[in-house]
């Protein structure tokens, strides 16, 4: 039994208790000995399952195990009456089976016990009614179940119900070879009048051309003569005639409304529930993509069901099959159908003769095909994907719908798949980009939030003039009016966006180096401008956000994260001055990170500058130098708030400064007095002059300034070290090798 056990996580273990209680309660409810109560009890149970929903759905594995073990050990007749243990286990199995379906092993156990005749017929009926496969049904279980029929232990009604079950579940049986071997057995059962219609249906499903034999045809014709024109017999005969017209000479009515009684009805609802749970994995759902027979299609428009198309080669389109034939002649090999593609090595072996699925949307679930797409340059692939995805996103977008509750989960799943695919391909889909541009202005900022924001991070690098009105403006509006958490999420996804752009940019640079495939030289700086615009945009919203959120530390963390990413970007230093100002009053960590950032940016720039020889305007450099000067002014030369170097202004009126009542404003942000470093200054003073308790910061100057600096370096402030060494040319020091942009 242990191998049946799925890997359990602690969460499941936690939940077992609660759900065991609910299972027990259900057991009590259904414990009434009268079978007449059964239906109402089941109904009740169903309602209960729904209300308990996931809570109960996620666990109860233990209980199922117990119940199955119990049923496995049944060796003799066990009555239902006053048998609470049996009733309990039965209820457990029922509730779990209808919610989640049963594993092949579980089905095997239950099928065996239901047909063994050890249990009362009502119990057998209940068991058979809840035999819903979670995935597939093992052929061997079906074969052993059929063998019970031969023993004749179970009643006629149980046999009949089993046949109906078999018909309803036919598509779930994993293999059918051995079942075909039993064709003769089933055929013999035709003589049973009650079973006959169902046996006919089953035979109809099983019949192959080789099953049609003269003696069988004779038998059927005899039966028809005996029983009269029965639709089920006619169905089977017409199928025989279809396969072997020469064997069936009688004329059959060409059109028949219904051949068979509906066998599925008992299990249909449950199957659909389970199918929805593991959408796209069950064998039948692959066949029914848009069929009218699909129960959900009644509620929704036929073409708006969010089911990813199944991966299948197209046999329907003669245009394409012709092409294949053509290819055959050339390559002496057949094309390789995608259905058979299961492993990476198969992909490698057949990559030259692989056919794409008939619906390109199906590649989203197939990582092997995504690999394949990655190495194929066929624009029709992308165009097909583009149209399909664009329309699906548009049709399914939940905030256009009135009753969106129902479909939001589905839509979320879809967006997740799209995002994963984008990550896999390392590329954003243009249909996705357009969807975002179209839909973000109408977004409430809440529905599918994390999915939408993640998709934002894969917007392809393109002209910012397009992105600005369609993405930035609506996003900024939401940003300003939403919670701190939302702000941080937006910053996070913009950081990812920047990261992706920069990665792309680097790749593009590699391509650029090959002159043959770079018709884009001229536009490169245009792309860099887009990156710059994005950084400006983030600078702007981050500044406003800092004001709105009173410089929340959490927010700062994300802002700094963004700027850290920025440094992989060559020669673009666009840090908003106001942020600087906010940063100056920061706790140590941030201030330190900030400085590290700035320096790292500079380092980066120096390297890239030599390699790439970008033609950036001198203005960029001027701006950068101004920032450096301002920083130096604050930290080193104690001249904060003096010069106006930026339109947003770093200089403050003396009047305003006076109002702050801070003494010695000018040096309040130097490395000694800066709030972030004052702690170090105090420690330094304590160590240097242990007897002095007055904490006279002014002692740190001249030679001691240098000691203090060394002290700071020793404390591990590498960023500060880098910054000072690279930005400040100290006359007294020889060791400065790196020349800075700023002469002090």
């Amino acid at each position: 039994m242990q191998q049946r056990e799925n890997a359990k996580n602690p969460k499941q273990a936690l939940q077992v208790r609660r759900s065991s209680l609910s299972a027990w309660q259900i057991g009590e409810r259904t414990a009434g000995p009268k079978t007449a109560d059964l239906k109402s009890a089941q109904k009740h149970e169903k309602g209960k399952q729904q209300s308990a929903s996931d809570r109960a759905g996620n666990s109860t594995q233990d209980h199922l195990e117990q119940a199955l073990t119990y049923f496995e050990r049944v060796k003799d007749y066990i009555p239902l009456k006053k048998n609470e243990v049996l009733q309990k286990h039965l209820a457990t199995v029922e509730s779990i089976a209808l919610q989640r379906g049963l594993s092949p092993e579980g089905l095997d156990v239950l099928l065996n016990v239901a047909l063994s005749g050890h249990l009362a017929d009502t119990v057998n009926t209940r068991i058979l009614k809840c035999l819903i496969p979670a995935s597939v049904i093992a052929e061997s279980s079906v074969v052993s179940a059929v063998s019970w029929l031969c023993v004749g232990k179970c009643s006629g009604s149980t046999q009949l119900l089993f046949l109906r079950w078999l018909i309803a579940m036919f598509d779930f049986i994993d293999h059918k070879e051995k079942l075909h071997a039993l064709y003769g057995f089933f055929f013999c059962s035709l003589q049973d009048e009650k079973l006959c219609p169902y046996v006919c249906h089953l035979l109809y499903l099983l019949t192959r051309r080789e099953s049609v034999k003269p003696f069988r045809v004779r038998r059927l014709v005899d039966l028809q003569a005996k029983m009269g024109m029965q639709p089920h017999l006619q169905a089977l005969l017409s199928l025989y005639k279809l396969f072997c017209p020469e064997l069936v000479s009688i004329t059959l009515p060409a059109k028949m409304k219904t051949y068979f009684k509906n066998s599925e009805s008992l299990w249909k609802a449950a199957i659909n529930t389970i199918r929805r749970r593991n959408q796209g994995t069950s064998p039948t759902s692959q066949q029914l993509i848009l069929g009218t027979g699909h129960p959900q299609s009644r509620k929704r428009k036929w073409n708006t069901q969010l089911i990813l198309p199944a991966c299948s080669t197209d046999a329907n389109n003669p245009t394409r099959s012709k092409e294949i034939n053509h290819a055959d002649i050339l390559s002496h090999s057949e094309s390789f159908p995608v259905e058979q593609l299961h492993t990476f090595s198969q992909l490698l072996q057949n990559i030259h003769r692989l056919e794409f699925p008939s619906q390109m949307g199906s590649v989203l679930r197939n990582s092997l095909l995504l690999h394949y797409i990655n190495c194929i340059k066929d624009e029709s692939i992308y165009l097909r994907l583009y149209y399909w995805m664009g329309q699906t996103l548009q049709e399914e977008c939940t905030w256009y719908k009135l009753d969106n509750q129902q479909y939001e989960e589905e839509f979320k799943d879809f967006l997740d798949i799209v995002y994963k695919t984008e990550c896999f391909l390392q590329e954003g889909f243009s249909s996705c980009e357009e969807f975002l541009y179209k839909s973000l202005p109408l977004w409430d900022g809440f529905c599918c939030r994390s999915q939408i924001l993640r998709l934002v991070s894969w917007i392809p690098l393109s002209s910012f003039s397009e992105m600005k009105p369609h993405l930035c403006e609506p996003l900024a509006q939401l940003f300003f009016t939403s919670s701190l958490y939302f702000k941080c999420s937006v910053l996070e996804s913009l950081k990812e966006l920047l990261q992706n752009w920069l990665n792309w940019h680097v790749m593009q640079l590699d391509v650029e180096s090959d002159p043959k495939i770079s018709p884009l030289n001229t536009t490169l700086s245009g792309l860099v401008n887009s990156v710059a615009e994005l950084i400006h945009f983030v600078g702007w919203i981050a500044t406003v956000a800092l004001h709105l959120e009173n410089n929340a530390t959490f927010l700062l963390y994300f802002i700094l994260d963004f700027y850290e990413t920025q440094h992989s970007c060559p020669s673009l230093v666009f840090i908003c001055v106001r942020i600087q100002r906010a940063l100056k009053s920061l706790p140590f960590v941030h201030s330190f990170r900030y400085r590290t950032n700035l320096v790292a940016a500079k380092e980066n720039e120096l390297i890239k500058k030599t390699i790439l020889q970008f033609k950036f305007s001198s203005q960029t450099y001027q701006e950068y130098n101004q920032y450096i000067m301002a920083m130096v002014g604050c930290l080193w030369t104690s001249s904060a708030f003096q010069k106006d170097i930026h339109p947003q202004g770093i200089r403050l009126d003396p009047e305003v400064l006076k109002k702050t009542r801070v003494q010695e404003v000018r040096n309040s942000f130097n490395i000694v007095h800066h709030p972030a470093l004052m702690g170090y200054a105090i420690l330094f003073l304590q160590q240097a002059w242990p007897e002095d308790k007055t904490l006279n910061f002014n002692l740190i100057k001249g030679r001691r300034w240098n000691w203090y600096l060394e002290y700071l370096y020793v404390q591990g402030l590498q960023g500060l070290k880098l910054f000072i060494e690279s930005s400040i040319n100290r006359v007294s020091q020889v060791s400065q090798t790196k020349s800075g942009n700023v002469q002090v």
Binding site: T292, S297, P318, R320, W388, Q391, E395
Partner: protein, 346 residues
């Protein structure tokens, strides 16, 4: 909806100007889809449309088939370009689609392709249904069920029909490679279950996507104005506009009918350049009608939602249903609908 910069883009008039954004700079990984993005982004409604002058059908048209298209209620769909659709294979498609329909209808039972299934699907071309020469040939799909009575096998009853067309859809056509066939507008008449079967077969076989095409109040107003301005020789039905007031518990519909001569007279005073309609003119036309209504009933129709327009040319409902009444204006109506369909799929 005022989009001054989207310029005079009309389906008929050639593209006047690009959107002003240089999309060639969008260098997407060398396998990008830059070619798609040459159109106006996001289907912004053009501010100016040209009324087709040559609204006559081409010569090779089959009048019977055209008559079949008229005076029927069609449900509108937009269809993305079909991959590897071939006009040479229509017969084969008919055979396969027949089998598919039959199989779907009697689910789970064996169906032999090509056998007599009691259902016959025919795909045929609708020659002459073109706005420009570049337009791809329209395709008619019909499902006929064999008569119930076996001896009366002469007439097959058409139970469902649908047709694809793309009138003056050059914009889209130019941006799509050869493997694709652009028949962006699909019109269906008959049980939705058949539409579903046929639609899903096309989706599966040609990797396209069907979406319902609804018509916004703005576009309905355009239709009201454009169709009012059309000349009709024969009987003139009244121009009727239906407005919906979203009130509780039941929504209220206001029907506003105008003698078509009066509507035409009003439109003639509004329209500045013959053969051309602008957004301002449409707005002005509707405003005139609104203020007239307000004078009499003290109801501001501008605060309600236009849901239906019917004129002697055609009638259209916001849900995406259309009935075309006049063969002379068939192309004109379809041109506008094609434009709407294309803007939905791009």
């Amino acid at each position: 909806m005022d989009t001054p910069d989207s310029g005079g883009m009309t389906p008929l008039g050639r593209k006047t100007a690009e959107t002003g954004i240089n999309f060639t700079s969008t260098t997407r990984f060398s396998r990008g889809l830059t070619f798609i993005r040459t159109h106006t982004l996001f289907g912004q409604s053009p501010t100016r449309r040209i009324i087709p002058q040559t609204s006559l059908l081409q010569e090779n048209v089959d009048p019977q088939k055209i008559a079949f298209l008229l005076r029927k209620q069609w449900t509108l769909y937009s269809v993305t370009p079909m991959y590897k659709f071939s006009y040479g294979n229509l017969k084969e498609y008919s055979r396969l689609l027949s089998a598919f329909v039959a199989a779907e209808k009697q689910k789970g039972l064996a169906v032999e392709v090509g056998n007599d299934l009691g259902i016959k699907v025919t795909l045929s071309t609708l020659l002459g249904l073109k706005g420009t020469d570049q337009d791809q040939v329209a395709v008619l799909v019909q499902i006929a069920s064999r008569s119930q009575l076996p001896f009366e096998n002469a007439e097959n009853k058409v139970v469902w029909s649908g047709w694809f067309c793309c009138i003056s859809g050059d914009d889209l056509l130019e941006s799509v490679p050869e493997d694709f066939t652009c028949l962006s507008l699909f019109l269906a008449n008959g049980a939705e279950s058949y539409t579903a079967i046929v639609g899903s077969w096309f989706q599966k076989t040609f990797d396209c996507y069907f979406s319902r095409l609804t018509i916004s109040p703005l576009n309905l107003a355009w239709m009201a104005a454009m169709w009012t301005g059309c000349k009709v020789d024969s009987h003139m039905a009244a121009t009727e506009l239906v407005f919906s007031v979203p009130c509780i518990p039941q929504s209220l519909d206001i029907s506003y009918a105008i003698h078509s001569e009066d509507a035409k007279a009003l439109w003639d005073t509004v329209q500045k350049t013959p053969g051309e309609v602008t957004q301002e003119e449409v707005n002005l036309f509707m405003d005139c009608l609104y203020s007239h209504f307000h004078r009499h009933f003290k109801i501001h129709l501008s605060a309600t939602r236009l849901v239906k327009v019917s004129t002697s040319i055609a009638s259209a409902h916001c849900d995406g249903n259309i009935k075309i009444l006049h063969s002379k204006h068939l192309i004109g109506v379809l041109t506008l609908l094609t434009e709407l369909a294309i803007s939905q799929i791009q």
